[in-house]
């Protein structure tokens, strides 16, 4: 016989199996039904065999629920706060539609980072790539008269090239991604200044502008619709495809992923290229939003995007970079900024606010993970 052996029989007899709890009689059905969301608040006791871990308590699942929606609550609280402080200006519908519309670029850039961060790579060149893409589009379309559709494709291609360079250096050469992208990012910024002559390029086709910022749905622009569509797409890829889970394993345990048969190099490479492509798409949206490209346009997005990605990883699926968490985080941050600026607070508050949000976001995401680890460590003895 040269076929592989059949699965082994159950190593233990029936008596050794855990008694089914009241809610999960019949095992398979019960497990499937509760498989999707919160772990069960299983009060039913397992047999007192040695080595069983304590089942999660009701308190733990409640806390998990709070973890998930804390950021959403914080956003609502922020809206309420500024609604009370600035009822005349802040609560107007126009204010909200403009907030939603104007931040599509930031949302897309955040998702670019989300992809690379999930795979465990930092891409500091994402914001410069955004600028590059916007500038390539503007120069081709406004100065050289290339049709806007072609210009968009070439702008995306420029981003793709940057991603391939990052991928080669990080994966094949084996340099740390922070260093590589710090270098390529600066290089890309140099290229942008060079091709633009350090000047703003305006006069991008009105067609693109129409397709990005002109209000369409309930006064919200198409840019926001694209961002929303991308949120759904990213949610699907990260949470509902093997690819998303593979990227997660590559990011969390590269050695484990490799030993489990994943093509780790290709996944990391792909994540870096996808990140640059998304950043280039953000650049296209930027060009459409302003009808022009500025050689410094990407700079102001870099920090908010990282802040939103890390802050987002504390919500919805705490401990993981995720689309809806980042979406919430972007609008939480933007609401805060908008409210503060409506109160007449000076422009430097933006840097203060985003800088603080990044630190708080990273700290919180670390604390979430550390707390979960601590639960485990309590059970383990430190010495041999």
């Amino acid at each position: 016989m040269n076929v592989s052996p059949p699965p082994p029989s159950n190593p233990s007899d029936a008596a050794a199996r855990p008694a089914s709890s009241g809610t999960a009689v019949g095992g398979r059905v019960g497990a499937a039904a509760r498989g999707a969301s919160v772990p069960p608040a299983s009060g039913a006791s397992l047999p007192p065999a040695s080595g069983t871990s304590p089942a999660p308590t009701r308190g733990a699942s409640l806390r998990r629920l709070i973890d998930r929606y804390a950021l959403l609550l914080a956003w609502i609280a922020t809206i309420a706060l500024f609604g009370v402080l600035e009822p005349d200006t802040f609560l107007r519908a126009a204010n909200f539609t403009s907030m939603f519309s104007s931040q599509a670029v930031l949302v897309v850039l955040t998702y670019a980072l989300l992809v690379s961060l999930t795979a465990g790579e930092y891409d500091l060149s994402a914001a410069p790539v955004l600028t590059l893409s916007a500038m390539v589009l503007a120069i081709l379309n406004a100065q050289l008269g290339v049709p806007v559709g072609v210009a968009i494709l070439l702008a995306l291609a420029a981003g793709g090239v940057a991603g391939v360079v990052n991928g080669i250096l990080v994966v094949w050469v084996g340099i740390d991604s922070i260093i590589v992208t710090l270098g390529t990012g600066t290089l890309v910024s140099g290229v942008v200044l060079w091709i633009s002559n350090s000047e703003m390029v305006s006069g991008i086709s009105q067609t693109l502008v129409n397709w990005v910022i002109v209000p369409r749905l309930w006064g919200v622009s198409f840019g926001f619709v694209y961002a929303l569509g991308l949120t759904v797409a990213l949610w699907y890829v990260l949470d509902y495809t093997p690819l998303g889970l593979k990227l997660l394993f590559v990011g969390r345990g590269r050695r484990v992923a490799r030993l489990s048969g994943l093509n780790v190099g290709r996944l990391r490479f792909g994540a870096l290229v996808a990140c640059s492509l998304l950043a280039a798409f953000a650049g296209v949206l930027y060009a459409g939003t302003s009808g022009a490209a500025d050689p410094n346009s990407g700079d102001s997005f870099m920090l908010p995007a990282f802040a939103a990605a890390f802050l987002g990883s504390t919500a919805v699926r705490p401990g993981r970079f995720n689309a809806w968490g980042s979406f919430t985080a972007v609008y939480f941050l933007v609401t805060g900024i908008t409210g503060l600026s409506l109160m007449g607070i000076q422009i430097f508050i933006q840097d203060l606010f985003y800088g603080m949000a990044l630190i708080v976001g990273v700290t919180l995401s670390l604390l979430v993970r550390r707390r979960e680890q601590r639960e485990r460590d309590v059970a383990e003895t430190p010495e041999d």
Binding site: M1, N2, S4, P5, P6, P7, P8, S9, N10, P11, S12, A16, R17, P18, G27, R28, A31, A32, R34, G35, A36, P39, P40, S42, A49, S50, G51, T52, S53, A55, P56, Y236, D239, Y240, T241, P242, G244, L245, K246, L248, F249, R252, G253, R255, V256, R258, L259, S260, G261, L262, N263, G319, R369, E372, Q373, R376, A379, T381, E383, D384
Partner: protein
């Protein structure tokens, strides 16, 4: 001769040293004397208390009250502060030499001296000359200005030792202390025979320079070759001590293992019926110098040896986790070269590798049980373009129940499970791929007794169903329970094979600790 006399107190004298960790007594009323100008061996199995004793000297652990420490006849209060050992004229050299490969020999050896010495300009020529003299004193032939990464691998531990000697001298010179104490913790792990001899030559010179050397090892032959006196620890107690030459090998083996070992003649190996399912020829790679073996269908083959003997690396080499330099692997009728083997191809060939380091190479603890189990088969679980979390949970849940992972909830984080249940989940992850060669590394490390039986049963069932199983472990009891045949490794080679009635703990311990002298290596 080397015995401490009234006139020359020993460099190190320990009395009534005990240490309790939770419910286990790691050290129990241990006494130890190390004389100046002598090498004292500290022998014992893993977990015998050797490491705990060293850590107490290094100020890492506080011993139980009542322990006494004297250095050169002067009592020192316990517990020691971390780092206090320096002031007392002690130095430690651990398995990992802790040298900076990108710096030169001189920089590595004088790095401490710069910090403490002149803050002004460093005279490199003078430093290099001093280091050159130091190396010459201990018979080490290397350029003081060569970068450490350019040295031969065996030269590095020698450098670490000389650095320690130099450090002790510099510190003790200021205090007028004469005899230093050097603690060498498994200094020969990973070294070949010729390198061990070079290291011993250096130790002889250190001894001649008046140092007391505490040579910590579980390698009996080395202890016999280099030490003047020896203390054997077993289960935290002194199992015996005395002059090495007077005790001899058999007495020491008995002290280490704990009961008398009868020398039996090796029975003929019982080969399983039919051709072997998996055969490895001339395997060479990190830690393994040369190993050829085969595993039959339905056979559980054990591999063991001392730490650093190479048996533990075999699994990683076969699974593509470590790069092999040479060798071939044949499974059923397909043969392939081991160099260049990737984990992907190993899996495709039907190899499953369950590593010892569960939470770093086996699985990702912060992800869920279901995700970890499902990882190798994610693509098979996709329905209509969607990998539904429910499908994953169902698939993993069924496996959890089959392998009795408790609680059988695939949505829990894997690290929340106990060690035994983690291991059962890992077995589920790999056995769902139906491997023809299952390679297990320390399969029951950190696993409680109940789960251990279940894991054994799953392994046996898998072998019975027609697979070949390779079990790498330093736990001889486990191998005796599981395996029909056990190979003993030493210095990267297979030096003995036990089969049938010979697969006993005693025989394995004997072969591990005492086989080298009888075998052509």
């Amino acid at each position: 001769m080397t015995a401490p006399t009234a006139e020359t107190p020993p460099v190190l004298r320990l009395r009534h040293l005990s240490k309790q960790f939770g419910g286990t007594r790691a050290l129990d009323d241990v006494a130890l004397d190390v004389a100046g100008g002598a090498v004292h061996g500290l022998l014992g199995h893993n977990g015998s208390g050797k490491s705990t004793l060293i850590r107490i000297l290094a100020g890492y652990h506080a011993p139980e009250p009542g322990g006494e420490l004297e250095l050169r006849g002067v009592p020192v209060r316990l517990p020691l502060r971390p780092g206090q050992f320096r002031e007392l004229g002690m130095a430690f050299v651990h398995q990992d030499p802790a040298l900076l490969p990108a710096l030169t020999v001189t920089e590595n050896l004088r790095i401490g001296a710069f910090a403490r010495g002149s803050l002004g300009r460093v005279s490199w020529r003078r430093e290099a000359a001093q280091v050159g003299a130091l190396l010459a004193e201990f018979g080490i032939d290397c350029d003081p200005l060569a970068r450490v990464e350019r040295l031969r691998p065996w030269q590095r531990p020698l450098l670490a030792i000389v650095r320690a000697v130099d450090e002790v001298r510099r510190l003790t010179a200021a205090q007028g202390v004469r005899d230093g104490l050097l603690v060498l913790d498994e200094p020969t792990a990973g070294l070949g025979d010729a390198s061990v001899e070079r290291l011993f030559a250096v130790i002889e010179r250190i001894k001649a320079a008046g140092f007391g050397v505490l040579f910590v090892s579980h390698d009996l032959d080395e202890v016999l070759a280099i030490t003047d006196q020896v203390t054997v620890l077993r289960d935290g107690r002194v199992a015996g001590d005395g002059l090495t030459r007077a005790l001899g090998k058999d007495a020491l083996v008995e002290m280490i293992v704990g009961h008398r070992i009868e020398r039996r003649t090796t029975a003929a190996a019982t080969t399983p019926d039919g051709p072997p399912l998996a055969a490895v020829r001339d395997l060479r790679g990190p830690g393994v110098r040369d190993a050829s073996f085969s595993v039959g269908r339905g056979e559980i083959l054990g591999m063991t040896g001392l730490i650093g003997s190479g048996f533990a690396e075999v699994g990683a080499l076969l699974a593509g986790a470590l790069p092999a330099r040479h060798g071939t692997l044949r499974i059923a009728d397909t043969e392939q070269a081991l160099p260049g083997l990737t984990a992907r191809r190993a899996i495709a060939t039907g190899i499953a590798y369950v590593p010892a380091d569960r939470l770093r190479t086996g699985c990702v603890g912060e992800l869920t049980v279901g995700e970890n189990i499902g990882l190798p088969v994610l693509d098979r679980l996709v329905r209509g373009g969607v990998l539904a979390p429910r499908a994953l949970a169902e698939h993993a849940g069924a496996l959890c129940r089959r392998f009795d992972v408790r609680p059988a909830d695939p949505t829990l984080r894997l690290e929340a499970l106990s060690g035994g249940n983690q291991q059962k989940a890992l077995l589920a992850k790999w056995l769902q791929l139906m491997p023809r060669l299952l390679v297990l590394e320390e399969p029951t490390q950190g696993v409680d007794v109940g789960a251990r039986e279940q894991i054994f049963a799953a392994i046996r069932a898998w072998a019975t169903d027609g697979a070949a199983v390779l079990c790498l472990s330093g736990d001889h009891e486990q191998l005796a329970l599981l395996c029909q045949r056990v190979l003993i490794f030493r210095r990267g080679r297979i030096v003995a094979e036990l089969a049938g009635a010979d697969v006993t703990e005693e025989r394995m311990a004997h072969e591990c600790f005492a086989s080298a002298a009888e075998q052509p290596v």
